[in-house]
């Protein structure tokens, strides 16, 4: 269980996280949604201790630290690989530093995405870089896989393939926390949706519940976010009135 208790993070005057409480049991695929600047990336970086924060974050009852950091892996749209290193050398690096590294899964995924083994990562296309970033996160052998906008820049077919592969790949002990703006795309793939707004969790729902209510994930997000569907029409109307 990954547990966050009253997690707060401040960047100067801006409060990025305002006391977040969240529990992620094993085996869940959780979507983390929110507008830009809602605090999704900060939340993930706090879990990984990449930023300082206030509050408690525990992993199976223990505070996240050097002894259990390997249970967490991270795929980010910023990319966390070594640009000058080849894919093969990354495999060796991960195998050396992460004792739980899943060689077989790594080989299958790199084969599936036809990623070149002996080219430096910096010469990969954006799509390939994203794929490799996610391949590393999935192959690390972590129990909790954090993904922050991992598919930014990938085409829709690519993403579709990835969701399918991911669903077939994950074991019961693996938990995925996936931050994305592609709400509709991941709605069939996640089991739970967490909504973040201005550093506060404003929604947390199992997708089964939504199915039972006959509500789509996108509708839930819009409702929770108090999305005003008419705001574009109004803005256009106002702009049209004074001719600007």
């Amino acid at each position: 269980m990954l547990e966050l208790k009253n997690v707060k993070k401040r960047y100067g005057a801006k409060e990025a996280l305002k006391g977040v409480d969240l529990r992620l049991p094993r085996g869940e695929i959780v979507g983390l949604f929110g507008e830009n600047g809602a605090g999704k990336t900060t939340l993930m970086k706090s879990i990984l201790r990449l930023v300082r924060f206030e509050g408690d974050i525990t992993l199976d009852g223990e505070s996240v630290g050097r002894s259990n950091i390997e249970k967490l892996s991270f795929a980010t749209s910023e990319h966390s690989f070594f640009p000058d290193l080849t894919a093969r050398a990354h495999r060796d690096f991960y195998a050396e530093h992460f004792p739980t590294f899943l060689e077989k899964r790594y080989a299958s995924l790199t084969d599936f995405f036809a990623l070149p083994a002996d080219k430096a990562l910096k010469s990969f296309s954006t799509g390939q870089k994203n794929q490799f970033e996610v391949v590393l996160a999935l192959s690390q052998g972590a129990d909790y896989i954090l993904m922050d906008e991992p598919f930014a820049g990938n085409d829709v077919f690519n993403r579709e393939d990835f969701y399918k592969v991911l669903l077939g790949l994950l074991t019961e002990r693996e938990t995925v926390l996936l931050s994305t703006h592609l709400i509709e795309e991941v709605s069939d793939f996640i089991g739970r949706a967490v909504l973040l707004r201005d550093g506060v969790i404003v929604g947390d729902v199992q997708t089964e519940e939504l199915d039972d209510r006959g509500e789509t994930l996108l509708d839930y997000v819009k409702t929770t976010y108090h999305y005003r569907a008419d705001r574009v029409a109004r803005a256009l109307e106002e702009m049209g009135e004074d001719g600007t």
Partner: protein, 172 residues
Amino acid sequence: MARGLDLSRLALPGQDWRQHTRFYFAVMLTLSVVSLFLLPPYLNERQALLERGQHYVSTAELLNHFVAYPGMPPFWTLARRFLTPFPCVAAVYLLYGAVNNFLRCRSGARSDYTLRRLRDPWEYRRRCFALPVLAALLCLLLFALLTGVYYAIYLRFTPPEWLPPAGQRFWG
């Protein structure tokens, strides 16, 4: 490199440490060769002193010598120009190398995220800062070694009566 010290473990993953090492040793060799240029000025001073000592000196000239000709200059006055590049290069290697590695972890990708997620808390710092520190230390070591050798030559080959008073021989 030496088998006991695998420099690839001290460099950032993917960093061409072999090329950096070759360049570094070329710089050290150049500095060492440049430091040899300290010898001609020293030998010139020594020769001048020898020549002055060999001809007849009148009382007036002798008095004049006491004012105008104090003997062999202190070691550092002769050596300064040829040895100061060592600590300067050490400082450049330390600062530029460390800053460059630090920024390198943040350009193209945030590879520092991966390094900071490793179990060994020193891995990130080691890979960023170990080589610049090692390079600077080796440079200072070479500086100390050459300074020692040249100072020994200065003391050995300068007649004692021409040396500055004890305590002023090195710095003056």
